[in-house]
């Protein structure tokens, strides 16, 4: 009896396990059949209120639910008609007149009007709202003053509804990237009546973005929102360009764990991953019809230098450190060729702008510079600390940098990790000598990178102050008549800044995704910008799992 019992138990456990298996159809198969994309979105979005949220996972969903006055072409990133069917720009580049598409509707069927934009931008800029992206609308005349409570009448801000269909926007100065800002979620219109039903205009907490309450104007509407599980969106009934939306809907998953996400992709539970774990990339590269897609991304990884702390208060030391870094080797080995060596702050080919390359890897020059600074062969070196936020990838880079500086310059470097908020605090209080930093552009324009280093800029943190630089970025570049003239001013400023080396650039980011072969319409671009409206699914294409 005992023996029978002994053998029965493990057998029954196995049976229980197996009966629950054999799920059969994967998400990719069922999605392809029903026209639903299964999308790894990286994290649970903080929310879906365009004037409250910040962040990449939020961006993907909000831009599927809402649409801006102008949208970006998914291949070229040049502005295309969105809610506005056309626009006019005045001769001097400061007055934009948007003509709203009469077919543009809210998801409840109501027509969109110019005054919806006036109301929404009032909300975005209002000091009580506390929108982190309020500054995106600062090119508009008087908007900054309104946001800082220096004026209280929104009528003084340069946004006017001339009639239901016409929105006139007046800017402080010509802003060549202004149309791009119209595709940023902070400038999207929200439906005033819906918000007011749930609270005041400036409230951040109300549940107006929930299923059943939210009214949006994009190609998709919100169907289900299960916290930390999934968000489902469905093709909108009232979207003006509905006939050109191929997908019936999208499932967004908060795939926080990148390793799990990659496994979900392999098991065909996802069509698309937000990222790819570094150690899996070499294997994916060797596959035939590889689902791995990598492209340059509008972001720079660099070391921030505190120019007020010795020994890096000396420009010669900063230059020596920069010359001694073999960035090609670093990107090839530590980063597995997933990054591009950077020698300046602006990423290459930012809407046609290429940053100056003023130096390269030159250990002899580096040693000379260090000797000139008073530390020949590292003698008398007082020590230097690099801080970074706790993450394996940052640690690996810091260790590589530490080794390179030790080998080439014979100087001792300590590296210290800090928990994220502690690190942010150290950087903003400038309690560091060298700190790891990354900057991802909000819009494709060199200005977005170069205005970081204006004197006392909120993101400067280096102590760098240069009047001529400030004048070019704040005064002369905005008034330049042509793109060429503007870019040559940027080159002048960037050259000046990089000679002073308040930062040590390391690499330009790339975006990395796994995309199932059945998906088309996702184009690699600098912003990693995806318009789900253009995505199509093609059943029957299989994922190759074998290496070559």
């Amino acid at each position: 009896m005992m023996r029978l019992f002994q053998s029965l138990v493990p057998a029954s456990v196995l049976v229980v396990l197996l009966t629950a298996c054999g799920s059969g159809e994967s998400n990719v198969e069922s999605g392809n059949r029903e026209g639903y994309l299964h999308y790894g979105n990286g994290a649970e979005p903080q929310g879906l209120d365009p004037q409250v949220v910040t962040g990449v996972p939020e961006n993907h969903i909000v831009r599927a639910l809402f649409e801006g006055l102008a949208v970006k072409n998914p291949k070229t990133l040049e502005p295309e008609p969105g809610v506005a069917e056309r626009w006019e720009i005045s001769e001097d580049g400061t007055v934009y007149t948007f003509y709203i598409n009469p077919k543009a509707k809210w998801s409840n069927g109501e027509a969109m009007t110019a005054s919806d934009y006036v109301w929404s931008w009032n909300r975005a800029l209002h000091p009580d709202t506390g929108s982190l992206y309020a500054y995106m609308l600062y090119p508009i005349i008087n908007s900054e003053a309104y946001s800082k409570r220096e004026i209280t009448d929104f009528n003084e801000v340069g946004v006017k509804a001339l009639d239901d269909q016409t929105l006139q926007v007046t800017l402080n100065a010509p802003t060549p990237y202004f149309l791009q800002l119209m595709d940023h979620y902070s400038s999207f219109a929200v439906h005033p009546e819906t918000l007011l039903k749930h609270g005041k205009m400036t409230d951040r907490f109300t549940p107006w973005t929930r299923v059943g309450s939210i009214v949006s104007n994009g190609p998709f509407t919100l169907e289900e929102w299960s916290l930390n599980r999934r968000i489902i969106i469905k093709k909108s009934e009232h979207y003006w360009d509905r006939d050109n939306v191929a997908l019936n809907g999208v499932y967004f998953y908060p795939t926080e764990n990148v390793v799990s996400e990659e496994r979900m992709f392999r098991a065909e539970q996802l069509h698309y991953t937000a990222v790819v774990p570094l150690d899996k990339i070499p294997d994916y590269r060797t596959r035939e019809n590889s689902p791995y897609v990598q492209s340059p991304y509008l972001g720079t990884y660099y070391y921030l230098v505190n120019t007020d702390r010795p020994p890096v208060d000396n420009v010669l030391v900063r230059q020596a450190l920069s010359y001694a870094l073999d960035r090609d080797k670093l990107t090839r080995t530590v980063l597995q060729d997933t990054a591009i060596a950077a020698y300046s702050i602006t990423p290459p080919d930012t809407l046609g702008y290429n940053p100056p390359k003023l130096f390269s890897y030159d250990p002899n020059k580096a040693r000379d510079l260090l000797a000139e600074a008073g530390y020949p062969n590292g003698e008398g070196w007082p020590g230097l600390e690099i801080i970074y936020n706790t993450q394996e990838a940052h640690r690996k880079i810091a260790v590589a940098v530490q080794q390179m500086w030790k080998k080439e310059l014979n100087i001792d470097i300590t590296i210290a990790n800090q928990e994220w908020k502690v690190y942010l605090n150290s950087v903003s209080q400038r309690e560091f000598q060298v700190a790891r930093r990354g900057w991802i552009g909000d819009y494709v324009d060199p200005n977005n990178f170069l205005d970081l280093f204006i004197t006392d800029g909120g993101n400067n943190n280096t102590g760098y102050a240069n009047d001529i630089y400030d004048e070019i970025i704040l005064e002369r570049a905005p008034k330049a008549k042509t793109r060429e003239a503007r870019y040559s001013l940027f080159t002048e400023a960037e050259t000046m800044m990089m000679n002073d080396m308040p930062i040590i650039p390391i690499y330009t980011y790339t975006s990395k995704h796994l995309i199932h072969p059945s998906v088309e319409g996702i184009y690699p671009n600098l912003m990693d910008s995806l318009n789900l409206k253009y995505v199509t699914l093609h059943p029957g294409r299989r994922l190759d799992t074998e290496s070559k």
Binding site: V13, E44, G130, R229, S260, A267, W420, G458
Partner: protein
Amino acid sequence: MVRFILWRLLQAIPVIFVVITATFFLVRSAPGGPFDSEKAVLPEVKRALEAQYKLDLPLHEQYVAYLGDLSSGDLGPSFKYPGRSVNEILSSGLPVTAELGLYALTFALFVGVLAGVFAALKPNTRQDFIPMGMAMIGICMPSFLLGPLLVLVFGIYLDWLPIAGWGDLPGDKILPSITLGSAYAAYIARLSRAGMLEILSQDYIRTARAKGLPEWQVVTQHALRGGLIPVIAFLGPAFAGLLAGSFVVETIFQIPGLGRFYVQAAFNRDYTMILGTTVFLSTLIVFFNLISDVIAAWLNPRLRAQFKGGA
């Protein structure tokens, strides 16, 4: 018995109050605030945000306000997820975490008790060494290793089970439950082995055997009840531990439970969320400890007699 329960409940109040107070001041003394971000926050924006969340008040006023809200059951709005209250996030995550914990505990009990009992029947033989060796491995193997291993074997190579999700695909609850339960199964195996060994050497077991009862009846009808007392005592803290400690498993398997929110809240300095979860979980732990004490007392004839004598 009633007096015992009441006394324990009374003891719980200062414990929870200390937890609230310590957590409240500790999270606020940590460097960095909920609104710090990599991109500089404009001072006027930061002021507006702090005003919306009452962070502009002096610390003691914030504390009093928090206690006031808490007494009416309001845990406040989440900082990280604007538009969501902590109550709402807890109530969306708790059923999932509780379900996962329940399955894990069931798995742990089933496997653990079986292994422990088998091992105790023939101590110091292969029948003892094999399950106990496995239990030792189970205790040592962290879930961040076991989870991916199970996924690799059953999800990818054999393709029998889904590898992530919760209630999305049939069978997707199996792997996370086993992963979370296995360490507990191992503990339970060791506890029930020890408990059974002690009981099996008692006189009344010898009497049962002498009466000629089959061995399985001796075990199931006579020995188990006493042999499992240490396991019962362990169940209360174990279930509370499963609820509070499922973070790793929830992350590996993309499960929308409480654990992920709890850990993320600490990284985000989401003050109200940290406090809310801590208060909630500590209450739960106190409660489950009480329950398991009561059950253990009720199961154990010697303790029961004590209560009868005392009452």
